[in-house]
Symmetry: C2
Subunit: 161 residues, 2 copies
Amino acid sequence: MNFAKAPLLALATILGAGAVSAQHLKPEEMIIARQAGYRTMDWNMDKIKAQLEAPADKFDKKLVLNAAKVVQAIANSGMGALYAPGTDKAAGEVKTRLKPEFFDPANKEELTKIAMNFGTQANKLAEVAEGGDQKAIQAQFGETGKACKGCHDKFRAKEKH
Amino acid sequence: MNFAKAPLLALATILGAGAVSAQHLKPEEMIIARQAGYRTMDWNMDKIKAQLEAPADKFDKKLVLNAAKVVQAIANSGMGALYAPGTDKAAGEVKTRLKPEFFDPANKEELTKIAMNFGTQANKLAEVAEGGDQKAIQAQFGETGKACKGCHDKFRAKEKH
């Protein structure tokens, strides 16, 4: 096993897709695709947040469930395949916030844990959203946000580079 | 009812979210969010396509199902809310391919039909992917692609403007 590729393979396996699915993509296409995925999750997390801040009688369960399903589906879509070694640097015009630490074999175990936890929390969020209980969704939304932040704190730089 | 807003409301209703969920977004944020959504669907459609072109014994049902779920979830996430009137023009640096025809009341009925069909086909794709039959997925993948194209042909310009 090539250690430099280990986190990629681990993530791809965890998140449910073979790394093969993105092999034909250029580094800039990988960066663009993964940023689109996070942005789409972000928009949907934002919708849930807005609902949680709304009065209980205005709480739109269906909207929250649909948004949670987007987060869940993307979390399970094998985004690990979009992290080819070297994509911690700008590819042409396309910049990234990914830190080189992402590809450090010493961080492999932590990265795997972070990625697995994100999948777990996103799945729970969709499950709880199915139930429709605003308080339960609030709590699980918090856990999901923490799971996102766990990766950001460790592997995302403040600025694109 | 304000006719200029009618297609937006129709789409928002069809796609399962209130227009309210994007009211706080600026036009450029709407354009960025919707482009991210389409790009994420595109990456996942591309993964399904690659699997359909693979030999039957290499066909990865799980990968296909996970990709189909992303397309389905985004198709049901109320993207119509990201089409505020005026977002057929560039907002600052952020360009769009959306044609002004999208907001023409004369096209409302066709737009509604196109949007509803996209949701239907994406739901069917996920349903068929659940079954795992490569030929059935191939057929429904074609129908889903046609549903995407139906909107592109009518409402998407060749270049960003």
